[in-house]
Each structure stands twice: as C-alpha cells, then as structure tokens.
Symmetry: C2
Subunit: 285 residues, 2 copies
C-alpha cells in the first residue's frame, strides 16, 4: 500500500509505533519454544505478539535477517508472519535494505511485492547504487500499490563514517535525502532516519516536509521520544517509530518465565505510545 | 574460504572468470524447463551449467535476488546450487549485497556463513552503514574461514550519483576504498569495482595494491577485457571477473532451441578466458 493506509492506521490507533518482529530464538518464552521446531516457534511467537498488540498498533516490521539466519524454515515463518499480520489488518514493513543493479533490483522488487509474494506493503532499500537500484522498487510499488523507505541516516554508531562525509558543504546523507525527494515524486518513497541522531532528524524534516519517515533507534538503541518528535511533520504526522527488543522482549526485563509475555508486550506498547504522543504534542504546542 | 583458495583455483584453471548463476526462467532451455517445477528447473539448469564448466572455471556467483524472486522454491534451489558447486570443487561467491546495523549484520553473517548455511565461501556487502554493517561479516569470515567483497564502485549507469560525489578532493568511492583497506587487515575483505568504469578501476588498484577485486560488468554490461586488466595486481592476479548472461544465455544468441547449451556455455567460457588472459598478458608486457 502507499503511505495513505499507514497514515490512516496511525490516526485510527492514535499510535505511531511499529513493532519490530525480530524474534531470535532466545527472545521467545520457553513455553512457546518447547516442543516446536525453529520455524514453528518463530511463527507462533509472532502470531501471539500480533494477537496481543493488533488493536493498539498500526504496523509491524519484520527484519528479514532474523528469518534468513534460520534458513528455509525461518523464511517460511517470515512468509506466514507477513500473511498473518495482513489478515490482522496491520501494515507490514519488510526490512530488507536491498539495493542492486537495475535487472537485479527488479527481481528483488518482484520477490517482495509480486503476486506470489507474501504481501508486504513496504520495503526498505539501500541507496548506495543510486537511482538504478531504487527506481525498480518505486516502479513495482506503483504497479502493486506499495511503498519504499530509503536509508538516509541510519541509527547505528558508525553511520557517520560514510553518511556524514562532507560533500561540498553538506553531508552525504543530505545529498541522499535530496535524491529521495525525486524518488518520492509519486508519494511512494519515504526515508529511514534514526532517533539516535536527533539534530540530523530535525534537519531532514526541514528538507523533506512531506516525506514519510521510518525512525528506528528508539528504546534499546538509546533514542528518546523528544528526539523522535523532531521527525514529525507540522501536524505531528508522517512518522512511524520502530521498537523491536523494547516490545518483543518486554517479558525478559525482570527475569520472569515469559508466560505473561502478551500482557508485558501490551503494557510496553501502551507506554511507548503514550511517551511518543506526549512528546509529539509538546512539540506541536 | 579466505581468498587463498580462490587465488589457487584461478591459477590452477588459468582463468579469472566467475560464472554468474542468475537463472531467470526465460534463460533456461525449454527441454530443461519442461515437466519441472520452478525450483527444480532452476537447480537442474545450474547443475548442468556447473557440469559443463567446472573443469574450466574457478568459481560461480549466484545472485540471491534471482532465487528470492521465486520464493521458497527459489531459495531451496539456491541452497542446492551452492552445495552442488562446492561438491564440484568450485569457490562460491554468494551475491547478496547485505548491510545492516550490528546485531542484524551478525544475523546475516550467520545466515550465510554459519554451520547451518549452504556453505558459500564469500558474500558481497554494502558499506552505506559504515563499519558496524561490515565488521560482523569480517568477524564471521574469520570464524568460519570465509571472505567478503564490499561494494566500492558498482558497474551500473547511476553508480556515480553517490559514489562519485566529491568529498573534499576525492570521490566517495575512494573514501570507501580506504575504509575497506582497514576492513582487510586480516586479508578477508576485497572490493567490488565495475569493468564499466576503467579509469576508476585503475585508480582503485593503485590505492589497494593487495586487495582482491571482484569485477562485474564484463560482456553484457559493456566492459572489455582491456578494462578488466586494469584491475589486476602487478603479477596479473587478485582479480575475478564475473559474466552472467554472456555465459548462461550463450545458447540464446542465434535463436537455437538450447539443446546444445552446454557446448555453447563451454565455448563462451573459453572465449572469455582467452580474451581476459590475453589482455592481462598485454598489460604485464
């Protein structure tokens, strides 16, 4: 789906949170792992997390690496997770960070958006190859009514090694941001910008007043709600904030056995929602 | 494997060619597709291509996108292809161009190199996230005796949009090249530099005299043997040149039915080998 469905779901749930579904085996409560193969355990936990939070959140974001690492059974669990999240009315952002030459980018776009795909609404892409690597995704997004988030300023500690390099008076990430403005001509290319770099987040919002922002780095990585608020547009919208471990590992916080994971995840989602909304409201006032 | 096995196989076969295994369904001769499901057809063609060329080439490079686009059956074919190529004594470069934050990069590295993986010797990675996104692959490469090629100057038409941006007197790709020199401290990080940009290829070799170069862009994309020769080190080595369509689609060149694909692929491999070796020899003289 284009971003309009995402915006609508954020409004309806009054929550700009996307739950990152990155279920390493050690994040899954023992009573769910027990007696199940890896793929089955991953899917069962995801299904239970979606059941626990679907009325509170607009979206989920599975990170492909955590499924690929378990081989074909992991990928089967990813496929089932995407289909289940869609059936629960959620927007699905598939975090794959792909980027390749034209013919290959077309193949990836078909893999994630095509009629045989599991039906994710949106993928993340890497801009290092330039337009050739991104436009096939945009084209496929138009064909199948989907969308794309391009990496601009990532949340990790070393993101500045390339992204902050000075390119004649502006950092590389700003040059990439300007490219994404072109890629967004039909409203299907948002950006990824981390909550861990708040000054850059604010600067990027000034440059791209109407782009959708996917903001990782809240919570476990150190980003705060007031940082995230800087990513919002003038009306406090067009932003979706990811938390993975903060939500799906909430049951692990105090050494419990995980039987209450659904309640713990709900509580963490509600706390995050209220934290974000309060900071966004403060910024607007 | 580290690059020593690759170097040894190149010497032994007297051939710096890697056969790109990017088997779109339409590249597969009708008599092999007939009566087979997609995954089975992909693997059967790859197996036949490997049988046809294994005595002539040191390595194969499956491009993950062309398997991912066919879903789980495609990924199963990829897994079987990697295992078959290894059993045929070939070095396997898995072209995935991944790059992500630390914990995620670790998951990918485990997916491709870990004990449950199909056993590729090497993967390609994207440097946009900086060291955090690459070092987990290097670390895993050390653990499992593998190697990594980082994208520096890609072969596609728009590669300059980011990679050629002037960063205080040198292009971005040169800054990335200097980072790869650090990542290569244990001899496990080569670079990707396209044959379609020969001046940059020569400049990169001067900067990185002892790095291994993976060179795409020969043949269908327009790169010539004399361009590729610029990537060689002083002794004419440390370079592996990819061709995909030029080899695996050789049977399609004159409208034949593909029953002679094995002979056509062998002939194309031999022609490419001789073309490359002659240009490399000319450069050395």
């Amino acid at each position: 789906m284009s971003f309009s469905l995402l915006a609508e779901l954020i409004r309806k749930k009054n929550n700009p949170t996307v739950m990152g579904l990155d279920p390493k085996l050690e994040y899954i409560p023992p009573h769910i792992r027990e007696g199940r193969g890896v793929g089955e355990a991953l899917f069962e936990y995801n299904r239970a997390l979606i059941d626990a939070a679907a009325d509170l959140i607009p979206a989920v974001k599975p990170q492909s690496a955590f499924y690929e690492m378990y081989g074909l059974q992991g990928l089967q669990a990813l496929d089932k997770t995407i289909r289940y999240a869609k059936s629960a009315g959620l927007y699905v952002i598939l975090d794959v960070k792909r980027g390749d030459i034209g013919s290959t980018a077309e193949a990836y776009a078909e893999a994630f958006f095509g009629s045989d795909s599991a039906g994710a609404d949106c993928v993340t892409v890497n801009p290092y190859l330039g337009s050739d690597g991104v436009l096939p995704f945009i084209k496929a997004a138009e064909k199948y009514d989907k969308a794309v988030f391009a990496l601009v300023k990532t949340s990790n500690p070393s993101s500045g090694e390339l992204q902050d390099i000075d390119c004649g008076g502006e950092p590389l990430y700003m040059r990439v941001a300007k490219l994404t403005a072109k890629w967004n001509s039909t409203g299907r290319c948002g950006i990824v910008a981390g909550a861990t770099y708040p000054a850059q987040l604010a600067e990027l919002r000034r440059e791209l007043p109407s782009s959708f922002f996917l903001v990782p780095g809240y919570g476990a990585q150190g980003g705060k709600a007031k940082d995230v608020a800087l990513a919002c547009d003038e009306s406090g919208g067009r932003v979706i904030v990811n938390s993975s471990r903060g939500l799906i590992c909430a049951w692990m916080a105090d050494g419990g056995d995980g039987r209450d994971f659904a309640d713990r995840t709900r509580a963490a989602v509600i706390a995050m929602r209220d934290d974000l909304n309060s900071a966004i409201k403060n910024k607007a006032n």
